[in-house]
């Protein structure tokens, strides 16, 4: 019935998640960091849907829908922050934003 075992989806989700974490930790551009967060959220969604299919339940899909909603809200607020930041500091590099450091 299920030609592709659930573990493969989990491995794919884990790989995507790891790539996203690498992006968040190593990039300097705040925009690329936000994109990496989107990759992480997509990896989580793959896991949720894989288990939703495994348990033949629609609850996991509902949860994934909420994750997508939160991703949209997060992207809107994050991009607003970046615009405000760029207007004040003229930079989008994460390590040049050190107002809280002295």
């Amino acid at each position: 019935m299920n030609p592709i075992p659930t573990e493969w989806y989990l491995f794919l989700g884990g790989g995507l998640f790891t790539i996203g974490v690498i992006g968040v930790l190593t990039r300097r551009n705040v925009l690329v960091i936000l994109m990496s967060i989107e990759i992480i959220l997509n990896a989580v969604n793959i896991n949720l849907l894989a288990f939703a299919k495994y348990f033949q339940s629609v609850d996991g899909q509902v949860f994934a829908l909420f994750v997508i909603t939160d991703a949209a809200a997060e992207a809107a607020v994050g991009l607003g922050l970046i615009i405000a930041l760029f207007r004040n500091k003229e930079t989008v590099n994460a390590d040049e934003i050190d107002l809280l450091k002295w």
Binding site: G20, L25, L31, S36, A52, A64, A75, R87
Partner: protein, 157 residues
């Protein structure tokens, strides 16, 4: 496979515009995996909301904020070696966990006969069992919208 390769390309491109394009490829292939997992409604949501909405927003902001300086300097921060080591540990841990769980079979729920379509089932769950979370999500979207507008405004009088 396409998803993984293009995700790697997202975080390695020097130019942020290229990153956005590769992120679109990633999201499309993840959408294909949703289709494979019998989540047709989420596939449509992924295409419309992510690829159509969020990515246009991203591209817009990248164009707005585009810096020629950023293309010339190194795209990675100074802590990349430490970060890579940490993430390697994380990857090994994840892989080990999934590998160990492979033999283990969770109790299989009796498969429900799909008399209705995926969208119909999802809507039923959303508006019957998950009424309060839907309302909370709508409130969250409202707050996010107001917050984004306020932060992007030039000056609050």
């Amino acid at each position: 496979m396409v998803a993984l390769i293009s995700a790697v390309l997202v975080i390695t491109r020097r130019n942020a515009v290229h990153s956005v394009i590769w992120l679109i490829v990633t999201l499309l292939s993840v959408g294909g995996i949703y289709l494979l997992l019998h989540a047709e409604f989420l596939f449509a949501v992924q295409i419309i909301l992510y690829v159509g909405g969020i990515m246009v927003l991203f591209l817009f902001v990248v164009m707005l904020v585009n810096l020629d300086v950023a293309v010339r300097q190194s795209p990675f921060s100074r802590q990349w070696l430490l970060a890579l080591g940490t993430v390697l540990v994380l990857l090994l841990e994840l892989a080990y966990g999934i590998y160990r769980g492979q033999g283990l079979r969770l109790p299989q729920v009796a498969p429900v006969v799909e008399a209705q379509g995926n969208t119909q089932a999802l809507a039923g769950a959303l508006y019957q069992n998950y009424m309060l979370p839907v309302e909370i999500a709508s409130l969250l979207l409202l707050v996010a919208m107001v917050g984004a507008v306020i932060m992007a405004k030039r000056k609050i009088e």
